[in-house]
């Protein structure tokens, strides 16, 4: 009689345990599904163009202002803004970097906190823009900004994936150091998985960029 009771209670405990585990697993799975179901949706009514299918950025090998590698790995773990230009740019580049400086002032996060983005200024003029020049240039706007450059064929690997165009006006002669570089002026927003998620076209307005970014961040998660 007693052994039967013991067996029954053991079964009961086992069933209860299985029940609890199933419940926990079910909750976890449904959470995952909920989070990921937004991945191919886009938040509405933004100025930014948000891609329903975030585009992984791969296969480029560039160098940052400190001489460290800048490759797909550096785009993972946080949101990143990419802007392409050159330091001898009088109008668009300084104007955009000043706008981004304003955006940074209104961010609710600080460097190192979750959800805090990075800004990479990618120079498509490696002949003139050496890493030290870039560092000095971007840090004038904000010490958090990071300059990046590299060989033209590596730059192309990145710009081609994104759809950024650039080109050089005719140089007067080989010694000409005052040529102009034409380039796309879109700001590119990359998600913490290193995927291109949004394109922000000029004219660049700090308030709009800042609020669009927060909306996108909340929508997809950090």
């Amino acid at each position: 009689m007693q052994s039967e009771k013991k067996a029954a209670s053991k079964n009961f405990i086992l069933l209860a345990a299985i029940g609890l585990i199933s419940l926990a697993a079910g909750l976890w799975i449904s959470q995952q599904v909920l989070i990921n179901s937004n991945d191919t949706q886009v938040p509405q009514n933004l100025d930014a163009t948000v891609l329903p299918n975030a585009r992984p950025l791969v296969g480029f090998n560039l160098i940052d202002q400190n001489g460290s590698q800048f490759s797909p790995a550096q785009l993972k773990g946080q949101w990143s803004f990419l802007f392409f230009g050159f330091t001898n740019c009088p109008d668009i580049c300084p104007t955009t970097l000043k706008v981004m400086q304003s955006v940074w002032k209104t961010l609710p996060t600080k460097m190192g906190e979750q959800g805090h983005p990075r800004l990479y200024f990618v120079s498509v003029d490696p002949d003139r823009d050496k890493p030290e020049t870039l560092k000095s240039y971007v840090q004038y706007f904000n010490p958090e900004f990071i300059g990046v450059t590299g060989k033209l064929n590596e730059l192309d690997k990145l710009t081609n994936q994104i759809g950024i165009l650039y080109g050089y006006d005719e140089k007067e002669d080989d010694k000409d150091l005052e040529y102009i570089v034409n380039h796309s002026a879109q700001l590119i927003l990359v998600d913490p998985k290193g995927r291109m998620r949004a394109v922000i076209s000029p004219p660049h307005i700090a308030k709009t960029i800042a609020s669009n970014f927060q909306t996108i961040r909340v929508f997809y998660g950090d």
Binding site: P90, D91, T95
Partner: protein, 155 residues
């Protein structure tokens, strides 16, 4: 008869001289500024509003500054998603009209900075007009564009 002729000639010359004197003075400049740039940048921009108060079109043919190797005027234009800077050979300001050089549009490109240029300082730029007259404008170096401030130049 010859008195009248002389008088006509003198009047004509006088009018020519007077009109020449007035062309450069017919331009009024507002909000002439240059955004302070990173010390490492060798190129800066110049923005301003130019009014032509005369009844003749005035063309700016060239510009120069002793603080830079050369000064050009460019138009920022977006074509196929790419920002291009298109050099303007000259800048025409219609009679009684005005033009505005501002971020994202027409701008002065100050190329080859010769010495540090900090916020609060002035970049003088000499404009050569199509009638041969020259006028110097002062770009104020600052972070943000100033509010309206009128400067008239008379030569």
């Amino acid at each position: 008869m010859s008195c009248a002729k002389n008088f006509t000639y003198i009047s004509f010359i006088y009018l020519l001289l007077v009109s020449a004197a007035f062309s450069a003075g017919s331009l009024s400049i507002e909000n002439a500024w240059s955004p302070e740039a990173p010390p490492v940048a060798k190129v800066m921009a110049g923005y301003l509003k130019i009014k032509n108060n005369s009844n003749n079109d005035i063309k700016i043919q060239s510009a120069s500054s002793n603080l830079f190797n050369r000064v050009e005027i460019h138009l920022t234009e977006m074509t196929n998603g790419m920002m291009r800077m298109i050099k303007q050979e000259n800048l025409n300001i219609k009679a009684n009209g005005h033009i505005e050089l501002k971020p994202g549009g027409l701008h002065m490109m100050l190329i080859g900075r010769k010495q540090p240029v900090k916020k609060g300082s002035i970049i003088p730029v000499t404009l050569t007009l199509d009638n041969g007259e020259k006028t110097t404008i002062n770009l104020m170096v600052k972070d943000e564009p100033q509010t309206e401030q009128h400067q008239h130049h008379h030569h």
